[in-house]
């Protein structure tokens, strides 16, 4: 028995195997960042109205392609997740007693997200397909 084996350097960066709340928190940050990056673009393209409807139309028309449409699907899903998870967090903030039931609440939030995401994705993917064919 008792053999001292090889030594290995590094092997960092294994994630902490935390609560589901840790992963939902990371997703909340990622989706939040994605949404705010969109907002920057959105503010710029909306401001183009100041240069007249032609300028606005010209730029917004560039969005009518399948790739941007897929990005829009991503945006909708990010917003949906961020909104639902935000409501979950708010719920726990105002009713600390619910903290005990965070796991079922988290699962319900995930289920709501999936339920809303499926038809959204179906509709938008069909539009993407139409755009791609056109």
């Amino acid at each position: 028995m008792a053999t001292r084996a090889r030594k290995t350097r590094s092997d960092y960066g294994r994630p902490y195997l935390g609560h589901e709340g840790q992963w939902s928190w990371i997703l909340h940050r990622v989706t939040g960042t994605a949404v705010i990056l969109f907002l920057f673009v959105h503010i710029v393209d909306t401001a183009l109205v100041g240069w007249g409807p032609e300028a606005y139309d010209k730029v917004v028309r560039a969005y009518h392609n399948p790739i941007v449409h897929l990005l829009e699907l991503g945006l909708v899903l990010a917003l949906l997740y961020h909104a639902l998870n935000g409501l979950k967090i708010t719920l726990i903030d105002f009713f600390p007693r619910l903290a005990r039931h965070i796991r079922p609440i988290g699962r319900a939030t995930a289920a709501l997200f999936v339920l809303a995401a499926i038809p959204t994705a179906a509709i938008m993917l069909k539009q993407t397909y139409d755009l791609w064919r056109a």
């Binding site: 030594k7 290995t8 350097r9 195997l17 935390g18 840790q22 967090i89 965070i102």
Partner: protein
């Protein structure tokens, strides 16, 4: 003669399993020695032990018979002193409350995260304790000494019962992603100990503590990831306690 694992019958006809066989546990430990350099490294040890042996005893086997340079904190070894909180297989746990069979065949042990490592599994707890001290974790009552005990109803006592269980092992605070990123955050353990006095009917400094905790290093840094609640070896509902303090600050201070 019984063989290990054999099913035996007791005199009252219950079935029990004979004392289980010994197992070989592979223990992978993140080592660090400031005198050897700035990098940490992993060491692997093989320890033959009883499956019901606690991990702290497995570490003793290593330290006493294989590598005397291994450094780790432990004191009571019975889950009360809170000395041996470690990152065990990706989760903060007390080495004295984890059995070899729970982690077999391989266990990876690292120092708890978010605090400076001094050597091997020993971290500098000072930032953690600073957060603890900052919330005035002691009874404050300036109304003069009472003639008898300060009486408290069972309901008033129950209000903060959960948070009296803290043993300051730092498992919660060092499981918190916010604390990893911001050492200024007082951390879950400090808030738990503030909660213990804020909701104590005999204490008079709740306002002062809530003022401290409404600061930008206080309770509102919490993002309710619930890692702390999972990590607490005493089963304290840490996130719930933090949320109660947040709510108290929200509704009583403003």
């Amino acid at each position: 003669m019984t063989t290990p694992g054999e099913i035996l019958q007791t005199s009252d006809r219950r079935e029990v399993r004979a004392r289980p066989d010994r197992i070989t546990l592979e223990v992978v430990i993140r080592r660090f020695n400031p005198e050897r350099g700035e990098d940490s490294w992993w060491d692997e040890f093989r320890v033959e032990c009883d499956p019901l042996e606690r991990l702290v005893e497995v570490l003793h086997q290593i330290k006493w018979y294989q590598d005397g340079t291994l450094a780790f904190r432990r004191s009571c070894a019975h889950g009360i002193c809170g000395s041996d909180a470690m990152l065990i297989n990706g989760r903060n746990q007390l080495a004295c409350k984890v059995l070899a069979q729970d982690v077999a065949p391989t266990v990876r042990i690292e120092p708890i995260r978010g605090l400076p490592v001094l050597k091997d599994l020993i971290v500098d707890l000072e930032p953690f304790l600073q957060g603890y001290r900052s919330v005035l974790p002691y009874l404050i009552n300036e109304s003069g000494e009472p003639e008898r005990e300060r009486l408290q109803s069972p309901e008033e006592r129950a209000r903060y019962d959960d948070t009296t269980k803290c043993i300051l092992c730092a498992a919660c605070t060092t499981s918190c992603p916010v604390f990893w990123g911001d050492e200024g955050y007082v951390g879950p353990a400090a808030i738990v100990n503030a909660h213990r006095f804020i909701f104590d009917s005999r204490d008079e400094a709740a306002d002062e503590r809530m003022r401290i905790l409404s600061d930008k290093t206080g309770v509102f840094r919490c993002r309710t990831t619930f890692n702390c609640t999972d990590a607490c070896p005493r089963g304290i509902e840490v996130t719930k306690a933090i949320q109660e303090v947040k709510r108290a600050i929200l509704f009583e201070r403003f």
